[in-house]
């Protein structure tokens, strides 16, 4: 049958396997921790995770660990908290800081492209450091405006951050990944080393694996391949990339930064998903339970939803959902504020305010007695 193959000769005996484990396990355990010490990560006031690093959950986890002052308040949520149309100094956390007179009391922990089902995974697996502190959690009813947004549609739908959503239970009907993808997602969430590898790919290799990065084209015609002969190690600058200074897609000078409608009235008919059936609402409930279970003092901000966008006959359904959420929060003694709907001209779309909208929203939240009571409360325990 021929000679012994090279494969046969590399077989390890038990002692050699133990030696491999003795090397690999410390490497896997230590590397992400050491990396955190040697890689520069500049945050500062109004910092938010750059849009390009939205999938870098290891970085998010690190960001939360950096919030060391127990008086700092973490603002959690989706792109409304992150500030889809605004610059870092136009976000909710910025204006809350302004209202409080402190530069860095409120931390923008929103992530672009998030929704409650993904937020649940993020908080469960990457937000363990978020404990025994005050947390503002934004509840966006946008995720209940249709079965598609709620991810409860039976039709297959692609969506962001699918690796963070519950893979098997509760079942997400529109999520059709095969068993292997689901197992991969579960393991990735629990393996810190893999999340760190993902961080390297996100931060230094354009969200690609190393092999894919070496073969990445520039999108031209004919395509050019700038990384073919580049040393991959030189890509690793040991400085986490920050958001671009001049973001043409966001901020008052951006063409996107404008009111959603000229006349300020809409006729949208949302196919509201009832609270009992909503997967996103159930996920938000679990997020609240997880946060409170970790000793956090959670305050929920319900809104700001653009009520002007809806047809008149669609509003009662919205109000029923809003009131239902508020009732559940009250029933469970969770401090919450329901800010009044902002003027129509201060919304960029169904749920994202413009810069002035965030400023007004922050004023209204801070003015609420519930908020003030929560803020001045001394205990972090629910």
């Amino acid at each position: 049958m021929g000679k012994e193959s090279p494969t046969e000769k590399t077989l390890l005996n038990a002692c050699q396997w133990l030696a491999v484990l003795a090397i690999v396990l410390p490497v896997v355990w230590l590397t992400p921790r050491l990396w955190e010490r040697i890689e520069r990560y500049d945050t500062g006031p109004d910092y938010r995770v750059p849009y390009e690093l939205s999938n870098d959950y290891w970085l998010y986890s690190r960001r939360l660990r950096q919030v060391s002052d127990p008086n700092q308040i973490v603002v959690l949520g989706d792109s409304v908290v992150w500030g889809e149309y605004v610059l870092p100094d136009g976000t909710l956390s910025h204006f809350l800081n302004q209202e409080s007179g402190a530069a860095d009391r409120y931390i923008n922990a929103g992530v672009n492209g998030f929704f409650p089902l993904a937020l649940e995974g993020l908080i469960t697996y990457y937000g363990q450091s978020l404990c025994h502190r005050k947390v503002v959690l934004q509840c966006n009813v946008l995720w209940m405006t249709s079965p598609k947004a709620d991810l409860s549609s039976e039709k297959e739908e692609p969506f962001n951050h699918s690796r963070l959503v519950p893979q098997f239970h509760p079942r997400i009907p529109c999520y059709r990944a095969d068993a292997n993808e689901r197992f991969s997602a579960i393991i990735e969430c629990r393996a810190g080393f893999l999340a760190w590898v993902n961080h390297l790919q996100n931060a230094y290799f354009g969200q690609k694996s190393l092999p894919q990065w070496t073969l990445q084209d520039d999108g031209g015609s004919p395509p050019r391949y700038p990384n073919l002969w580049r040393n991959p190690l030189r890509q690793i600058t040991l400085v986490v990339p920050s958001a671009p200074q001049d973001d043409s897609q966001r901020g008052p000078t951006s063409p996107r930064h404008k009111p959603w409608s000229e006349d300020g009235r809409g006729s949208t008919q949302f196919e509201w998903v009832g609270l009992d059936a909503s997967l996103q609402w159930q996920a938000l409930q679990r997020v609240i339970a997880t946060l409170r279970g970790r000793g956090n003092n959670v305050l929920v901000v319900l809104g700001p939803f653009n009520e002007h966008m809806m047809a008149e006959d669609n509003r009662p359904a919205y109000r029923r959902i809003r009131d239902g959420v508020a009732a559940w929060l009250a029933e469970n003694r969770i401090p919450h504020v329901v800010p009044e709907t902002l003027p129509s001209a201060l919304y960029a779309d169904a749920s994202h305010p413009l810069t002035e909208g965030y400023a007004l929203l922050a004023k209204r939240i801070v003015a609420k007695p519930t908020f003030q009571n929560w803020l001045t409360g001394t205990t972090n325990r629910p």
Partner: protein, 487 residues
């Protein structure tokens, strides 16, 4: 369920403990068969019917064969106590029935469409308006016409049992559970190695003796296979796809490097699968045939086939080449050459129903026919430098891979033409890929040289394993399915 997926790991974590727990009962065979059928049926439950068909067919045909008087035992037949014995067909007839019946599903699922399309084309050239039916229209109950994964592997494996029994090389397996496990043993059912009854069947006779080295060897083989598949084959496939998806836009160097890269990709992909299959079997105490042995260090085409897909090349050698060579022995050199060409034509057809595979097989057959005498000559063996022989063999084998990989015959011809006529411009190949392939080649070269002792030092082995584990995390680019699953 692919070996390099988390689903398979979970599958194994369920299968192994129960398998070991059943060691003192007879249920371990039932468990093994159940999980094998589950593993195979997950691809396409209907394909399981083909596996069952082959299993039942060969089990009973060999039983019938056993009841016949052996070939050349005419006198015995005449003197047998009952006339019934004389009336039963002899073993040769049962063998012929078995071969035809075994090949029927393979012919239908793999070649019917190819034959139908080509016959229709020929008939239309002859201005005959005969419309041959599409084989998919013959499928009952609306079942989709798809090639059952691994059909060529388990069919050939089962056929080898029938032929070996006919030749008196193996005893009849009376236990249907053992035989069913032999046909559908989950580590090998998809892509081999194509086992022989004489090697694998006896291992099902009693629960395998499990020692510590079974685990360490099994894990080692699995790690090597995983590394080959995920870190190497996956990487090379990115470049190969770019070149082969649009050959008309590539310069000559890109086509040459893309073809060389495919040769290595195929090796890493297929040998990686085999290593993982052998590793999994080893974890359960089973020993599978070796399938690869540094094929790109071969010093001739014959040597290449002694190192590449060894279980398959031994199969075609034993069951196609040898009988043909024996039949044409009077023709001497010409007979051997003809037998080689036909054997490798069959090999090409076995790989797929396309003219590209037939040409690939024919090239190897012709190459072997032209060089087998040279390869055996003392001058070639002793005077020609090894590196030169290796380089020549590698060039020939790589050239034939063009036909193996190209999406169509037209594409293959474009690639061959452009290799010699297109401009010499930057092949746009990543340096890292070249370095990785060069390192693997160097490793294999050292392993076959006097320096191999270096690789046997514990520190070096441990270091290599650590590098493989870390690389799997850093380099892995998905992997995708295995190339040989299509066969």
């Amino acid at each position: 369920m692919l070996f390099h997926t988390w689903s398979f790991l979970l599958f194994l974590l369920i299968v192994l403990p129960i398998f070991f727990a059943l060691r003192k009962t007879r249920l371990w065979l039932v468990w093994l068969l159940t999980v094998s059928y589950f593993f195979y049926g997950r691809w396409n439950p209907y394909s399981l019917l083909v596996v069952l068909y082959i299993t039942v067919l060969d089990y009973f045909l060999v039983a019938l064969m056993e009841r016949c008087p052996e070939e050349g035992d005419e006198a015995g037949g005449l003197t047998s106590p009952t006339r019934l014995t004389r009336l039963t067909p002899n073993r040769g007839v049962w063998l012929a029935i078995a071969l035809v019946a075994n090949l029927l599903p393979l012919l239908f699922f793999k070649y019917a469409r190819f034959v139908s399309e080509n016959l229709s084309a020929v008939l239309s050239l002859l201005h005959l308006s005969v419309k041959l039916p599409d084989p998919s229209s013959l499928m009952p109950f609306g079942i989709r016409y798809v090639l059952p994964v691994g059909i060529s592997f388990f069919t050939f494996q089962s056929m080898s049992y029938v032929i070996d029994f006919y030749l008196g090389k193996v005893e009849r397996e009376r236990n249907v559970l053992r035989f069913a496990n032999f046909v559908c043993f989950f580590p090998i059912v998809m892509s081999g190695p194509i086992e022989r009854a004489g090697h694998l069947l006896p291992q099902f006779h009693q629960f395998p003796a499990i020692r510590l080295h079974n685990f360490t060897d099994g894990l080692s083989l699995f790690l090597v296979g995983l590394f080959k598949k995920l870190a190497l084959a996956g990487y090379l496939s990115l470049y190969v796809e770019r070149v082969y998806d649009n050959p008309a836009s590539c310069g000559a160097p890109a086509l040459i490097l893309g073809t060389v890269a495919f040769g290595w990709q195929l090796f890493f992909d297929f040998s990686g699968y085999t290593d993982m299959a052998r590793g999994v079997a080893k974890l359960m105490g089973f020993d599978l045939l070796q399938n690869f042995n540094s094929p790109y260090l071969a010093t001739g085409i014959g040597d290449f086939w002694r190192r590449w897909h060894i279980s398959f090349s031994r199969w075609i050698l034993d069951y196609i080449f040898m009988p043909l060579q024996m039949y044409w022995r009077d023709w001497r050199y010409a007979g051997t050459a003809a037998a080689l060409v036909i054997t490798f034509l069959v090999s090409g057809i076995w790989h797929g129903a396309a003219w590209t595979f037939i040409i690939w097989g024919a090239l190897h057959g012709l190459g072997l026919a032209a060089t087998f005498a040279l390869e055996r000559s003392a001058y070639y063996r002793k005077r020609v430098p090894t590196l030169l022989k290796q380089a020549g063999t590698f060039c020939f084998v790589s050239f034939t891979w063009i036909f193996f990989r190209a999406d169509s015959l037209g594409d293959a011809l474009v690639i061959v033409r452009r290799m010699f006529t297109a401009a010499w411009r930057d092949p746009q190949v990543p340096a890292l890929m070249l370095v990785l392939v060069a390192l693997v080649w160097l490793y294999e070269y050292v392993n076959e040289s006097k320096l191999r002792r270096v690789l046997e030092i514990s520190v070096v082995r441990v270091g290599l394993a650590v590098v493989m584990v870390i690389s799997l995390c850093l380099f892995s680019s998905g992997g995708g399915t295995f190339i040989y699953f299509q066969f």
